[in-house]
Symmetry: C2
Subunit: 325 residues, 2 copies
């Protein structure tokens, strides 16, 4: 798996191609700056605002890129995805836009608001019983096989990774070369795609993956160069509760990421508070990981030009209120 | 006061001149759109995001424009402003940038966070005792007279009004002609400046002032063409608790505003919820007035191109949490 010598699953050409698929469909999200953040960190920072992306997160990029590459025949048979988070809404919206039937497998105890949002984009929602010990992935694969539908995994898929990489492509096209790029890490679809794009557009850039301390499998995998897992990670960053990196993303991470760091939930809340109060941006806990990483000061970024990906903004206001209380 | 035949305090030339003063200093804030908002209202809406303005609100425009026009001698003697809200921070920041000493008169029971923010911009904070029945305006005027300093009123000042009008200028330069423009109204510095700019750049545009139902003095003044007052207005829109329109803003409003409407605090919270949850924008209650005005459906904007000014985003997250609970 740690095949650094072999071909990588995603190259710059794939990201460039994804950008053409997404042109005029995905938002070219704004890049924001903050004098206060720069003063506090000693950096010149550029925030790529994927919280303003369609359906509220970068996930739309990968899902749309993947679905847009299905053959007409595949498209007719539809797609299946398993997710209780942003990937669900991303596949649902991409399916709606492309006229491809989408079925989303969600846990039976998923928040009603997420089920409703996914249905709102026209997807079929199939509930599975987490308590009964059903394996979500196997369950979704079974449904896909039954229907002849295509399974769209949340991160470990070349078209998904290439789509996510367009976020860094847009950022760097706007800012020019950067010294650092901080990206949150769950399954590393966003991180690995952005790392490939960033190293192409800004050779010498140091790409950093940021994980919640309660789910540091990727950090440990990166350090040991052996895939590590985490069971039931405890963190408010629900988008980064992934159990491990993927077959495709792990080699991409090893080949293209400079370093990893972890932040505590307390640091995440402080980063969210800064983004909401000072920058007026609604960013979800996972979306604030990269910001928290820079604020932590664990890597010496002083005097540097730093890119920060704000990955999403889908957060329940009542939940956020509790975090800020 | 209702001198429609006479010269108006602010013309397009003043706004154009203010734009030159502000170039490279004030943010050219982004204009955002929302498919969901358009679908819900039947409009094509453009949101001018002054919550992203420096110090978090449009107030910076007017304050900086006014301070930038002082003579060197006046600048040395400094400025005095009375405000417990965004105008305080706006004058403080403008003073800091221009090297003009700023003294801000604030009530002794002002929230510590606001006092700290104002001091953070280098201003001197002078507390007055609201309970002792001191008149804030007279108190501030006394201090200004004592020092030979210039009093910078929060809205009823030609340079302040002209500065605020640059928000609508930027919006319309980006969107092209619009059918409607919804603007929140406290003392109408923003509303009257924007109305002058909008009618110049988009002849035939209908500019609407939106007030909280609990402080509807401007709406009544507009309808009766006689200046009305409100005492101790009860509303969460703290920036619109102004007691009445001004000597300069009232004639500008009568000459340039098409209509007024009021919204309840409940409608304001719903508009805030939409802006935060769906558009990922942190907007303060006053800043959501115009959005609430369109959402109310009280004016038939279906099929129209509608501009909406989001005036500011300075809100305490704990207070916001209570509103959303």
């Amino acid at each position: 798996m740690n095949d650094l010598g072999g071909a990588q699953a995603v190259t710059w050409a794939d990201i460039d191609s994804a950008a053409r698929s997404l042109a005029g469909v995905a938002h070219r999200t704004p890049v924001m700056t903050s004098r206060t953040f720069d003063a506090r960190t000693g950096t010149k920072a550029f925030f790529k605002c994927e919280n303003f992306q369609r359906m509220g997160a970068f996930k739309f990029r990968g899902a749309y890129n993947a679905l847009s590459r299905l053959t007409p025949e595949e498209g007719r048979k539809g797609v299946v995805a398993f997710s209780s988070g942003n990937h669900a809404q991303a596949v649902a919206l991409a399916g709606q836009l492309l006229g491809i039937p989408a079925a989303i497998v969600m846990p039976a105890d998923a928040p009603e608001v997420k089920v409703a949002a996914t249905k709102g984009y026209g997807a079929e929602v199939i509930l599975y019983d987490r308590a009964a010990g059903q394996d979500r992935e196997a369950f979704a694969a079974g449904i896909a096989a039954e229907r002849g539908a295509t399974l769209i995994p949340p991160f470990d898929h070349p078209h998904v990774i290439a789509g996510q990489g367009t976020a860094a492509k847009e950022l760097l096209e706007e800012t020019g070369p950067l010294d650092w790029l901080f990206v949150c890490c769950g399954g590393a679809g966003l991180l690995s795609g952005c790392a490939v794009a960033a190293r192409h557009l800004s050779p010498g850039i140091k790409v950093v993956g940021v994980e919640p301390a309660g789910g540091d499998d990727a950090t440990r995998s990166f350090r040991t160069k052996t895939l590590q897992r985490v069971e039931n990670p405890q963190t408010i960053a629900d988008g980064a509760r992934t159990q491990s990196l993927g077959r495709l993303t792990f080699p991409l991470v090893l080949a293209n990421v400079h370093d990893f760091l972890t932040v505590t939930d307390e640091e995440l809340v402080e980063a969210m508070r800064f983004l909401w109060e000072r920058m007026k941006l609604v960013v979800e806990p996972t979306g604030a990981l990269a910001t928290a990483g820079v604020l932590s000061g664990r890597l010496d970024t002083r005097g540097a030009r730093v890119g920060v990906i704000l990955s999403g903004g889908n957060v329940d206001l009542r939940m956020a209120a509790k975090l800020f209380a």
